[in-house]
Each structure stands twice: as structure tokens, then as C-alpha cells.
């Protein structure tokens, strides 16, 4: 009896405290939920998340989303301006022997932390990138060493003549030598680019602020905010409502949603990303080029690309996009199901055969629709194809072990140079699709060594022809990247590599 009032009092107090605590949690939570971009910032969203900003991280070595940010935060010796190579940190360069290149650095460049950028930093960065196993590894394997001749001169020595070195250097981001292997670079990297990192939450948002002492002149906007919006419909809504200034790539089937909206305009450019559907040439019946060609003839590629993608894609005329160095247009395979049936009969398949096609939906826009359209075209000529829409992780595992019949995917020629795709994918050594052709190997090796751009272009053009005639895969469409931007933006140039120069963008 004695304890009753005490416990009643304690109960009231407890409840009051609980209520107070709960409202405290609510208030506290409200404070942290917001992450508004700074005033005047360009709010730009790309279709994939940025996970890590360390330029030498293996898993983001050729990741497009990460490259967009890296190009704003770091500098490279050589830059790409449209289809041309232009001086970056290197004012000029020359090839002093077939295996020696000398690069002259721009003097007076400083990193974001105030330290001077010298040849020693370049040497350290090359060493660092060579020590990391990544998708860039094949690019750097032939580079034996880089030496600093003086503060502003670097000499690169290669084991074989390497014509693609200047192109490859557009992927070597320069950081201070002492930070080249610093894990802190993942979150708050130091570079010398037009912007510095002000905030970064992986897979969520990157906040950049202008580097006012940039050697190439100040960026036109004080800050850039790069949020990741996973849902395309949410992102399009945000662009239409003005919560975003820039959004890319806009999927072909959503273009109408954006183009009709007030205050938004669309700019397009044929990208370096393309669809292909490989045949596993080490599996029956795809070892026979006649069968592969018949499979291609069975599909109305031109009609399919037009119907599915509209303005969102261009029909391909070579195994690489037309804007890539080394492209040479080939004669398209005409749609001819009767000829395809005849060819299959002659190859010993009068009643067709059964096979499968694997892909993962996120590989590109309308991947599922493209796969289904091809599968139904093949069934018309008696080839029954089992659709295998699988998850990316599983797809990658099967791709690497050649455990597939046909494979549909997109690929990006990250450097804009055929060496990056044709030169990497189709050698007998790479064995990516069970295809081995010693004659092609010789052409590719020669192209890799040639320093002269015309010579390289000619040799890769020859490779295009071989791959096209051998029909190692069907090459249906180059994607056209559609950038949706608010009308007030000026100075924007759509970029084929999905990495637009955001430092030049301003607001009217």
C-alpha cells in the first residue's frame, strides 16, 4: 500500500520522460535528414551512383559515374576535347623513340592543399596505378616506367611501341605523390582540378565547390551538387519541377516525358556506349561463321532499333560506335529470314536448334525489350532461344567463365579509342567469346604499337571489317545520350563519354 503513490508518480514521470525522449529523437532526426545543396550550385544527376573517389580504386577504374567526378576534381596529362586530344597538365609531348615519350608539364600548378604539382607526382601516380589490379591494368602493362627528368619533365618508357599512350593518359588522374596510396582519398581526395570535394556520401551525393585558383581558369558556377536518384521517374519529376538542373542519360522511352515539359530542353549526342549480342564461338553451333551470319540475317536490326529506341539510338555500322577512333563503316547485314533459313539448312540445321541468350536488365535502356525482340525474330527461322534474364553478379560470373551461348550487353569505349574495346576484347589471349583469329591478333598488335593516328585508325578499321564479316556478334545500336537540362543553363556541351565538362556550365 505504501509504495502505490510513489509508483504512480514514477509512472507519470516515466511517461513524461518517454514523451520528451521521443520528441527529441524526432527533432534530432529531422535535423540530419536534410542535405540541401548550397545556394547557386549546379544540381546534376547521372544514372549511376558514385561509390568511391580514390582514382586508383580497382572497382571504379572505368566506372562512368566516378569518372564524371574525377574529371572535375583531378587533372590528367592529356585531356579529351570532343574527338581530339588536348594538352592538360602536359603542355606538350613528343615521342623521342618508338618506346620513349617525353611530356612537358605546365609550371605553377598547385593541388587543392596548396602543394606544388611536379613530375615526381606523375611518377608516383603511374607507379600506384600499375600496382592496382583493375580494368585499367591492360592499358598500363606495357608501360615499363616513368622518370622525372626535372620538376616539369616526365619520360615514359614502354616495353613495346605504344601508340595509345596519350589516349590512355586521359585516365591517369594526378594526385600528390604522398597521397597516391592514402585511403583517405576515397572520401575526401586532393587533386588539382577545377573543383574540390566539399562533401561526399557514397551512393548518395557528391558536393563540389569551386577551386578559385584553377590553372585553367575559374569554373563558372561556385558549386556542383551531384545527387544520385535511383528511380528514373523520380529523377525526371525532379528535373521537371526544377529540383534538378541537369539529368542524364534520359532513357529513350522517357524522352517524351521530358521534352514536353516547360522549362526543360534536351540535347543529344551519339555516345561511346553500344549494345552487342555476342555468340559464344567455342560452343556449337556458333563455331560456324555461317550460322552466326544467319542469326544476324534473321533479325530486322534496322526496324528493331527504330521501333524500340526511336531517337534514342543509332544503328551501328561497325563493332564500335561511329564517333570512336578506328571506326570504319561496313555493309549492314540485310534482313532476310528466308536466306537465314537456307543458310541454317546448309549448315546442317534444317529444323533450327535450341540455344539461350543471357543478359541483366540494368545493362542498358530497354535491354529486356531488345532481347525479346531478337528472340522472337530467331524463333521465326526455327531457332528456339531461352531468355535468361539474370542478376548482374551472376551474369558477370558466367561471362567470365564463358558459361553462356549468347550474351547481350552494353559496353562503353571509355577512352574513345578502338584500342580500348576492339583491341582489348577480341584478341585470342583475352578469349572473351571463344573466338580466336591469329590474323586479327596480328592486326591488333600492330595497331597497338602504331603511334600515328591515321595508321592506328586504318588498322582498327581493318579489324572492324574482320569482326563484322566473321559476325562474332550482332552489333545493333549505339546509344544516343539524351541530356535533359533546365532552360536557364548555358555553356553546356553534350559529351559522348557521358562525362560533360561541367566547369563550363553557367546559369543565365
Amino acid at each position: 500500500m505504501r509504495t502505490r503513490p510513489v509508483s504512480a508518480l514514477a509512472r507519470r514521470e516515466f511517461l513524461a520522460l518517454a514523451g520528451l525522449g521521443a520528441s527529441g529523437v524526432l527533432l534530432g532526426a529531422c535535423g540530419t535528414g536534410s542535405g540541401a545543396a548550397p545556394e547557386g550550385a549546379l544540381r546534376a544527376a547521372f544514372g549511376q551512383p558514385v561509390t568511391d573517389l580514390d582514382p586508383y580504386k580497382a572497382n571504379t577504374a572505368v566506372d562512368e559515374a566516378t569518372l564524371i567526378v574525377k574529371r572535375l576534381v583531378f587533372d590528367t596529362l592529356v585531356r579529351r576535347e570532343g574527338e581530339k586530344l588536348a594538352p592538360g597538365l602536359a603542355r606538350s609531348w613528343e615521342r623521342t623513340s618508338p618506346t620513349t615519350w617525353v611530356f612537358h608539364l605546365r609550371p605553377g600548378v598547385r593541388f587543392h592543399d596548396g602543394s606544388r604539382l611536379t613530375a615526381r607526382d606523375v611518377v608516383a601516380c603511374l607507379k600506384r596505378t600499375k600496382s592496382v589490379e583493375s580494368a585499367q591494368t591492360p592499358l598500363w602493362e606495357p608501360v615499363v616506367s616513368a622518370t622525372a627528368d626535372d620538376a616539369h619533365t616526365v619520360t615514359f618508357t614502354t616495353s613495346v611501341p605504344l601508340g595509345a599512350l596519350p589516349v590512355n593518359l586521359t585516365l591517369l588522374f594526378i594526385v600528390p605523390a604522398r597521397l597516391a596510396a592514402d585511403p583517405a582519398q576515397s572520401r575526401s581526395p586532393v587533386g588539382s582540378g577545377p573543383f574540390r570535394v566539399a562533401g561526399f556520401t557514397p551512393s548518395t551525393t557528391v558536393e563540389l565547390e569551386r577551386n578559385d585558383s584553377y590553372w585553367g581558369g575559374r569554373a563558372r558556377l561556385p558549386a556542383v551538387s551531384l545527387p544520385f536518384v535511383a528511380e528514373t521517374s523520380s529523377a525526371i519529376t525532379a528535373l521537371r519541377n526544377g529540383d534538378l538542373d541537369l539529368l542524364w542519360p534520359i532513357p529513350p522511352d522517357q524522352l517524351a516525358e521530358v521534352e514536353g515539359a516547360g522549362g526543360v530542353r534536351v540535347e543529344t549526342v551519339p555516345s561511346w556506349t553500344y549494345y552487342f549480342s555476342w555468340f559464344n564461338c567455342s560452343r556449337k553451333p556458333f563455331g560456324d561463321p555461317a550460322v552466326r551470319r544467319a542469326m544476324w540475317q534473321a533479325v530486322d536490326v534496322a526496324g528493331l532499333v527504330r521501333e524500340l529506341f526511336g531517337a534514342g539510338a543509332e544503328r551501328m555500322t561497325a563493332p564500335i560506335p561511329s564517333t570512336v577512333l578506328g571506326h570504319r563503316a561496313q555493309q549492314p547485314y540485310a534482313y532476310d529470314p528466308a536466306a537465314a533459313r537456307r543458310a541454317l539448312r546448309d549448315a546442317g540445321f534444317p529444323r533450327g536448334f535450341r540455344t539461350s541468350l543471357m543478359w541483366f536488365d540494368a545493362t542498358g535502356p530497354l535491354a529486356r525489350e531488345l532481347a525479346q525482340a531478337m528472340i522472337s525474330a530467331w524463333s521465326e527461322v526455327g531457332v528456339e532461344v531461352e531468355p535468361q534474364s539474370i542478376e548482374k553478379a551472376q551474369w558477370l560470373e558466367r561471362l567470365n567463365t564463358l558459361d553462356w551461348d549468347m550474351n547481350l550487353q552494353t559496353n562503353t569505349v571509355t577512352t574513345g579509342d578502338a584500342g580500348f574495346s576492339v583491341g582489348r576484347l577480341y584478341t585470342s589471349k583475352a578469349n572473351r567469346l571463344g573466338y580466336a583469329n591469329p590474323a586479327l591478333d596480328a592486326v591488333l598488335a600492330k595497331a597497338d604499337r602504331a603511334a600515328d593516328e591515321d595508321e592506328r585508325s586504318r588498322l582498327y578499321g581493318d579489324a572492324c571489317k574482320t569482326l563484322w564479316d566473321d559476325a562474332v556478334g550482332i552489333f545493333p545500336a549505339t546509344l544516343v545520350t539524351a541530356y535533359g537540362l533546365r532552360r536557364g543553363l548555358t555553356g553546356f556541351t553534350p559529351a559522348a563519354n557521358n562525362q560533360p565538362e561541367l566547369a563550363d556550365v553557367a546559369r543565365r
Partner: protein, 308 residues
């Protein structure tokens, strides 16, 4: 009381262990190799093997499991290969955002569901009652990703009242919180209605009414306090539910919480983050349950650990 809490904590630990073991097995049984995802399609078998060794994935599963449990006990889930840094730190960074949504959804559910239930109880069998009971069924049947997208179409794209993605402060949280709350508003209203109807026939209600107490005071002060125990139970579980349900809603609204982190980690086979996120959600659920249990005694002094 201490014994009761100790017993409950013991039970909670068993649940946590179960969750950790289950997640450990499931993420490793699902096909797909993290090493392949890290290195991309150009990796040589030697490269893949060396990355697998770095993550300890080349060792027997049983050995991995024992090592893993030892690390988890010390709060170490390993590093995220995709995001860099400790998986737990990455998860906890995202936790406040998820909690904001969950608490907001809870406040919404309570603010709408409770008065609605009381109003239904006042005219049981009336038009409002029938509507609420029908709509509560519909609300629970609608999948949340669909509700989310429809809300975006309506309030963001159509009317442009609210943002569709995170980044505009609390306004951004409204649509996702409503999406989370939709299935449960009607449900809570039904619960409150039934409780209030049951209590309505009690003598203290008759007495209060005879004294001339107004209907509002009667319902919210007298009856409300007496149906607090079931309501609090439900709210506690709801908060846990909201944290767990946030997975899909966060993806739809690009909300930077644990849910979107987890979906990203699962598709990329970032085992450490998947485990850290699931354990965080499990522990939240368990702690909330414990809190609800403790709250009972505060709400109803007649309850003791022995008769609870």
C-alpha cells in the same frame, strides 16, 4: 523486473545470433562472386583469386563463419569493398535518415489513425466506420512501391507541391513517410475503434458520462488511457516495421537511408554491408520490443513482470 529484463535480453541475443547466421548463409549461397564485381569482366583468374583471398572468401565456409561471428561480437563487420571504410560505420551513417522516415511515418499513423478510430467508435456501424474499414483493407493490400510512385506522379509531377527525391530537407520526407504510413493508418484506426467500443461499455465510462463529462474528454482522456497498452504495443512494432519496410520506399524516393544502402549492397554482393545493415535493423526491432515491454509497466501499474 531485473530478472525479466535479463530474460528478455537473453532471448533477444538468440534472435540476433539467428539473424546473423541466416544472413551469413543466404548472401553466400546466392550465386555471384564479389571478386568478379570488383574487377569487372577483364579480370584474369589469378587476379580474381587474389581478391578472393583478400576477403577471406577462399577459406571453407565453416571457418569463415567462425571468424565472422568472432568479429561480429566485437562489432566488426569488416570493410565495404564498394564504399570503402567499415561496413558498420557506413550503415550507421545512413541510420538517422531511415529513423527520420520511420518516426515521421509513426507520427502520421498516430495523428490520423487514432482520431479516426475514435470517430468510428462514436458511430459504430455508420458510414465513416464502413468506409474506414473498407479503406483499411485496400491500404494494406497496396504494395508500397506502387503507392510511392503514384504519390510522386500526383504530388510531385502533377501538382508540384512536394519534391520527389531527397535533398530538400524535411519536405522531401513527406511523401516517403506517407507511403510508409498508408497501409497502417486504417489498421490502427480499426484497433483503436475496437478497443474504444470494448471500453465504452465499462462502468467508469457510464459514471463519467453521468457526471457530465464531455464526449471528447471521455474518449481521449478516460478511454484513451485505458486502450493505451495495445496501442503502444502496436506502435512499437510499427516503428520497427517502418525501419524494415523502408527498403523499397527508400529506393523509390532515393532516400539516403539503410534500405537503399542495403539494396545497393545486395546487388553488388557487398557482404559486409548487407550483414551490418540487417543486424542493425534486427537490433532496432529487438530494442523496440524491449522498450515496449518496459513501457507496459509504466502504462498499467497493475501489470508486474510475473503476470505480464
Amino acid at each position: 523486473m531485473t530478472r525479466f529484463l535479463l530474460r528478455r535480453t537473453g532471448q533477444a541475443l538468440i534472435v540476433a545470433w539467428g539473424a546473423i547466421s541466416l544472413v551469413f548463409v543466404i548472401v553466400r549461397v546466392v550465386p555471384g562472386d564479389p571478386a568478379a564485381l570488383i574487377l569487372g569482366p577483364d579480370a584474369s583468374p589469378a587476379q580474381t583469386a587474389s581478391v578472393r583471398a583478400d576477403f577471406g572468401l577462399d577459406r571453407p565456409l565453416a571457418q569463415q563463419y567462425v571468424t565472422h561471428l568472432g568479429e561480429v561480437v566485437r562489432g566488426d563487420f569488416g570493410d565495404s569493398w564498394r564504399l570503402g571504410g567499415s561496413a558498420m560505420a557506413n550503415t550507421l551513417d545512413r541510420y538517422p535518415a531511415t529513423l527520420t522516415l520511420a518516426v515521421l511515418a509513426l507520427v502520421l499513423t498516430l495523428a490520423v489513425g487514432f482520431p479516426l478510430g475514435m470517430a468510428c467508435a462514436r458511430r459504430a456501424g455508420g458510414v465513416l466506420d464502413a468506409c474506414v474499414s473498407a479503406l483499411s483493407l485496400v491500404g494494406q493490400a497496396l504494395p508500397s512501391f506502387w503507392v510511392g510512385i503514384v504519390l510522386i506522379l500526383l504530388f510531385a509531377r502533377g501538382l508540384n507541391w512536394l519534391p520527389s527525391t531527397a535533398g530538400s530537407g524535411l519536405a522531401s520526407a513527406v511523401l516517403p513517410a506517407v507511403t510508409l504510413a498508408v497501409p497502417f493508418v486504417g489498421w490502427l484506426a480499426r484497433l483503436v475503434r475496437n478497443g474504444a467500443l470494448e471500453e465504452g461499455g465499462r462502468e467508469y465510462v457510464r459514471t463519467a458520462r453521468a457526471k457530465g463529462t464531455g464526449e471528447g474528454v471521455l474518449q481521449y482522456v478516460h478511454v484513451g488511457r485505458n486502450i493505451a497498452v495495445p496501442v503502444v504495443t502496436v506502435l512499437g512494432l510499427l516503428l520497427g516495421n517502418f525501419v524494415a519496410n523502408a527498403v523499397i520506399v527508400e529506393v523509390v524516393f532515393s532516400w539516403p537511408g539503410i534500405g537503399s544502402l542495403m539494396v545497393d549492397a545486395i546487388t553488388n554482393r557487398d557482404y559486409a554491408v548487407v550483414e551490418a545493415a540487417i543486424v542493425t535493423i534486427t537490433v532496432t526491432y529487438i530494442v523496440l520490443n524491449l522498450l515496449v515491454d518496459a513501457l507496459y509497466f509504466a502504462l498499467d501499474p497493475r501489470l508486474t513482470p510475473e503476470n505480464a
